[in-house]
Symmetry: C2
């Protein structure tokens, strides 16, 4: 057991540095004075390098080999050891000078991207994006070699361990065949219905915040181990036992902040519900980005936009803002929050068209990493894909392939998790409501406790005990991910 | 130059970890959820250990020896190297197991102290305080051996490099002879004057904060590299280029928060004014705790409680709170903020009696470290000293030797810096006003710029270029510290 215990001490140390980085990251995005940027970058770079040095210490390789021959470990310890090995392979697969070259290329490219997007100038981005992609491909090949995976699978595996293009191809193909027709049918149906009316503000920030806090409390967010604050881009961050979510308030629209809070609270409940005995260990972490996204979407999309919950919410929100009139009727809010349109921008997309935006990016990024799509051809390929999948063509690259920071940020392999998360949320919610028939009726009383209890047991509390998202899903729902429940969910909600 | 450059890289790394700890420490005291305490302790312990490992890396000893033979270094680099050596000797002098034993003893003792103070039960504190003192003496002996200093001088040197009991004995003796008589004369004078009247509140927190921010701006605090927040115990913390001060607002008394803000802003100006080219290096740090305290006291006591500034402040504060009546007259505020009394509690003491409280602690702690005062005899010695120096005897230990956390926290050697700081502030202010005759008239217009410009040049910007506070003071004022200016200042303000 000695080798294993030594590894536990080392990973606990790395986790504590990660937690410190989590608090610094929160601080940077919420309250740091603007002139502190360089000093803060120095702090985070130093802590990141220290964590990397600890993670790649050659002694770790010896200890892993020793511990892997230790027959005395129990099932959680073995799962922990498996995750330690995984982290070690990922950390050591890419040479340090390539990590540094990639990080520098990304810094440059993200800066260029900001002005290229503002100026609708893809040509200006091309050189630095080419450099980033070259470094990312190099890293992906090195990781692929170490993990015995294709380069793109190696990138997927960083964000979502166990995710493989072969599986994603199947579920995304199913969805890609289904979505364009569904979008058409939903738009036809919407055209025959009264247009929903937006409740009129102003909605004072204090009242919005109070309503958000109330929803978080109902969802079981533990304010003694977390916070709600404000940032330009909402996120869920912080540290172990200190989970901090943020939102952004608009005085003329309370729904964006509220739905954002419900979304981030879903992430936060996952973090607050990780297995307490394993908090500082790899097996105590969340099981990849797709499952994480499923936890935000199960709260925001499956539960909070359900007819049952909106029926409860309508009078509560009306009272919170002293509103009156037909805009506050539950039926109107339901129509308002299930409005579908063929939009250009992913982050503004509705539940039905969002997966089409993601499938487009998945196809393109896979081709880029494989070398089958030259970056110079990206704008054209983007627009063709938008026409096919969403049914609308961007008038310019600013609203097309320049809209997301992911690729300039080196984030190939991340996009699929959004829609894998949405499908996972649907499949989990379906299993949950069958396992506990009280879950949906509770939502009509504004009560989340039955749903959260099921998630605690089947998702949050399992950490990384399962080797992949698909294994977790199989344990929780009886089968790996497929698109069927998600498709049915969309049909029921948008055509029912 | 290679060895020196290598050392610079290492110290920059340690400084970045220190900065991260500074932000975490600020967070802990201001906004951290209470349930995050254990996880935060884990983060700070991990970062502290990492910093300590870097500081005590045996390779540093070799590099120091090599760099000390490097004739190519300029004066600042040599000063930097001197500080590196100092830090290395301090960090390596005490064996790791003694550091850990001390830290554990302190944790226990601080907890015991909280209830012992509440229960007025010195006997309950005695065992754990005995343990802490034993460990502190052991550490002081080890450091003393490494630094060729007496144990108590080694403790002084931690907080205030270059401070020595031999020198402090002289200036404190001078003061101790002077103070009891002065206190009596001041009280006699006060008795013959109209009692000052406290302006009546309530003083809304928002108005107090706005006034505090306005004063900070006038003093030159750079809000693009710092913040003002709220905490239970006010402090100046944060990190390089991110200096964060805190205060605590009372609705029925605006002066405590305001004077606190002026005090902490003095500390903050020192931090924000450190030499920019050397920020992450030892020579770029503040020159010890006595000089640091002098910067808060020069702002709070020398400048802001001057008749000139209070004459300007009186109508400004009255308008800020919409006050009226004789309580807001400058003469009344001057009497109010220079009120002297024979009090029992150091942190509530006025400018005249505060040094008496400190001299008492200095005498006692020196005797404890030397083994000349048994802890069991502390309450009696305390009360005798209070009678002699302040002229009042505590009715119980809660208001006597149990009032401060310093000794339970292992902080022998820290107390003198409060009064050394007050004397340093007086000597610096006197030199400044002679060097720039505009400084005092500017205060009567609420303008701090001339004073701050002199401090930037003679204190803040010199970092640790000078080897000790006394050397800094000699460069700035023409001579090392003595009590004469401070005594004259007290006589002028309180008897003039």
């Amino acid at each position: 057991m000695t080798a294993y215990r030594d590894l536990e001490r080392r990973t606990a140390r790395i986790a504590a540095i990660g937690d410190a980085l989590g608090i610094l990251g929160w601080d940077t995005q919420t309250i740091m004075p603007e002139g502190s940027n360089d000093a803060r970058a120095e702090q985070t770079a130093t802590l990141s390098v220290l964590a990397h040095e600890l993670a790649t210490d050659p002694r770790v390789g010896d200890l892993l080999a020793e511990a892997e021959n230790d027959a005395s470990l129990d099932a959680w310890q073995r799962a922990n050891l498996r995750e330690m090995r995984r982290d070690y392979v990922h950390a050591t697969a890419v040479p340090a000078d390539l990590v540094e070259a990639t990080s520098k290329a990304v810094s440059v490219c993200e800066m260029v991207w900001r002005s290229a997007r503002a100026n609708n100038d893809f040509a200006a981005l091309l050189p630095s994006l080419t450099e980033v992609l070259a470094r990312v491909r190099e890293g992906a090949e090195a990781k692929g070699a170490a993990l015995d995976l294709s380069p793109y699978d190696a990138l997927l595996d960083e964000h979502d361990p166990g995710a493989r293009a072969e599986r994603i191809d199947v579920v995304f193909a199913d969805l890609a065949e289904f979505l364009p027709g569904l979008i058409g049918r939903v738009l036809d149906k919407q055209a025959g219905e009264p247009a929903p009316v937006r409740p009129q503000g102003p909605f004072p920030v204090e009242a919005q915040k109070a309503l958000g806090v109330r929803m978080m409390e109902r969802m079981g967010f533990d304010f003694s181990r977390g916070r709600l604050d404000v940032s330009l881009h909402p996120f869920c961050g912080g540290a172990t036992d200190d989970v901090r979510i943020t939102t952004r308030y608009e005085e003329d629209n309370f729904a964006n902040a509220l739905m954002g809070v419900l979304h981030e609270t879903g992430h936060a409940l996952y973090e607050q519900g990780r297995p307490r005995a394993w908090l500082g260990q790899p097996v105590g972490q969340a099981r990849g980005m797709a499952v994480h996204e499923s936890q935000s979407l199960i709260m925001e999309m499956q539960a909070s936009r359900s007819a049952e919950f909106l029926t409860w919410l309508a009078p509560v929100a009306r009272e919170a803002f002293g509103g009156e009139g037909p805009a506050w009727e539950a039926a109107n809010l339901r129509r308002l929050y299930s409005r579908v349109e063929r939009g250009l921008i992913r982050v503004n997309a509705d539940e039905v068209t969002y997966p089409a935006h993601v499938i487009l990016r998945y196809r393109l990024e896979k081709a880029m990493v494989a070398g089958d799509l030259a970056l110079a051809d990206l704008p054209g390929a983007w627009n063709d894909g938008m026409a096919e999948l969403v049914g609308v063509v961007p008038p310019d690259d600013r609203q097309g392939c320049l809209q997301d920071i992911h690729w300039p940020g080196g984030g190939w392999g991340y996009f699929p998790s959004y829609t894998l998360g949405a499908m996972t949320a649907a499949q989990l919610f379906d299993a949950a409501r069958k396992a506990d028939p009280e879950i949906v009726p509770a939502l009509s009383r504004g009560a989340f406790a039955p749903l959260v209890a099921w998630l605690r047991q089947n998702v949050h509390g399992t950490g990384c005990f399962h080797a992949s998202g698909d294994e977790l899903l199989t344990a929780a729902t009886g089968r790996p991910l497929d698109a069927s429940v998600f498709k049915r969910h969309l049909e029921t909600r948008y055509l029912g």
